[in-house]
Symmetry: C2
Subunit: 301 residues, 2 copies
């Protein structure tokens, strides 16, 4: 299996070629060929680590599949993740002005255009998967089941449900551990679980493999979020590229507000153990995924 950096390079190379998000891609809309693609690319190229698409590709290789066949599904996952950040940062939502060390999309392009850039990325994720799938109609059923996993993860019982609960708890200044778990499962874990499950569908994984990927995705996703919450308190702006301490100041529901710093450190250890245990059946082939979980814990040390 490759390194995270190698997978990220493959994803970035492909993202740069997807016609709808190249400068030439939105030709034919009058005097304005570039604004939509520019606003989508602005956030898409903001220097994320491409963790979710890389994990999808690594899972495909773990299961004996081909990176090339899965690549547009991986890019779609990154587009969906990026759209969710753009909309999350909007004044009507979290009202954030800094993301990955740069002004957020609506600060640069205006609120209306940022809404459309997000809509465009979500729609384009499906356009991209469907374009790839249309080239491989002999594998149409696998593609369809993979797309369905991704749509479920980003959907109204997954990521969007988490966003709704998060927004509501913040507005009503309410919520406890039960709400926190639902929010972090929906907003964060689902976009790890379901892309991994999509990899499983593309490779016709067994039910046992699907369950292992799901368990790892859940534990890793919650670990990722707990680590993020912890670093909002113990990290530095340079490391994180975003406004720090904001969660605490805004009274936002986080692992810190629910469990405190020490409780969150204990949770991080527990989720790490859970993630690693979920990989047992894959043996040493899954070292890529073990290392990811280790790195996550390492950032908080």
């Amino acid at each position: 299996m490759r390194t995270l950096q190698e997978y990220a390079r493959i994803v970035n190379d492909r993202l740069a070629q997807i016609p709808e998000i190249t400068p030439e891609g939105s030709a034919g809309i009058g005097k304005l060929p570039g604004l939509l693609s520019a606003s989508m690319r602005y956030s898409l190229s903001a220097g994320g680590k491409r963790l979710r698409p890389c994990m999808l590709l690594a899972a495909v290789e773990l299961l004996g599949g081909s990176v090339e066949d899965a690549l547009d599904f991986a890019c779609a996952v990154e587009m969906i993740h990026t759209y969710s950040l753009i909309h999350d940062d909007l004044p009507g939502m979290d009202d954030d002005t800094l993301r990955r060390g740069r002004p957020t999309n609506h600060v640069v392009f205006g609120e209306g255009q940022a809404i459309l850039a997000g809509d465009g990325l979500l729609n384009c994720a499906f356009e991209t998967m469907l374009a790839q799938a249309s080239c491989r109609l002999d594998r149409a059923a696998d593609s369809l089941l993979a797309m369905r996993e991704i749509a479920t993860g980003s959907g109204v019982t997954g990521m969007i449900a988490g966003q709704v609960l998060d927004l509501w708890c913040e507005r009503e200044k309410t919520g406890g551990e039960a709400e926190l778990e639902c929010i972090q499962y929906g907003k964060t874990a689902c976009m790890f679980i379901y892309p991994l499950r999509a990899a499983g569908r593309l490779c016709r994984a067994t039910e046992a493999q699907m369950e292992a990927l799901t368990a790892y995705g859940r534990a890793f996703g919650l670990l990722f979020q707990a680590t993020d919450d912890l670093l909002d308190v113990v990290g530095t702006v340079e490391d994180m590229g975003k406004t720090l301490g904001k969660d605490a100041r805004s009274g936002k529901l986080t692992c810190i507000s629910a469990y405190g710093v020490d409780g969150t450190r204990a949770l991080v250890e527990r989720l790490h153990a859970e993630a690693v245990r979920a990989l047992d059946s894959f043996g040493p082939d899954a070292d890529f995924f073990r290392a990811l979980a280790d790195d996550m814990v390492g950032r908080t040390k």
Copy 2:
């Protein structure tokens, strides 16, 4: 073939059953089971005529296909149309407070929740199509090509491109006939053309049939928009269920601003003739679609 009202009843019955948008559908997100589905249903059940999904179903029957197999694709088209209205009405976009005679989504649920209701409907459209397609894996290739048509219509070279250009022209107080044509093609015509093309894919239409559906969809969509622009000037609030004369006051680019009332009436006649001509090869079987075009012109008389 059935009447528009019969198709609309079929669509409404099915929309009421789609699990993600029933009150029980978003269970499992803490104390907040109903808010997301309620906000999606609020706009989805605001009393639209279901024109786009009905036309998809009618095209399926015209081509000898089964309404049952196409029904979730039709519902998806209505969800996409509805999401686009919710986002279009947002303060960062058109800032409308009245739609189909009721307060707009963000007026009732707040801006953040309205953004998420729109996101939810767009994502749910794909969830719904993929769920249906997963039950018919023997027809996976047809489903996939149909979904691709719909995604293209609502996408970054279709509907969203039109929205971007519209927003930009309004903000910059610019644009002429060329921009107007692009906006109305993207924002309005694409969501007629591509659902009709999706019907064609589901029924394995011939290339000649696909071209006829495309030509009709384009002419009908532009006719629909020209009629709408005309009624904004010559219609009544009761007929339209929305604020009238707003386009003119806001200096928005419309058929009226570009061609005047008489010029728009002439355009309506021309587009009607074009729509009807596109149906020639289907013979009397296409009377449903002829009647739709006739009705559109009739509203302006």
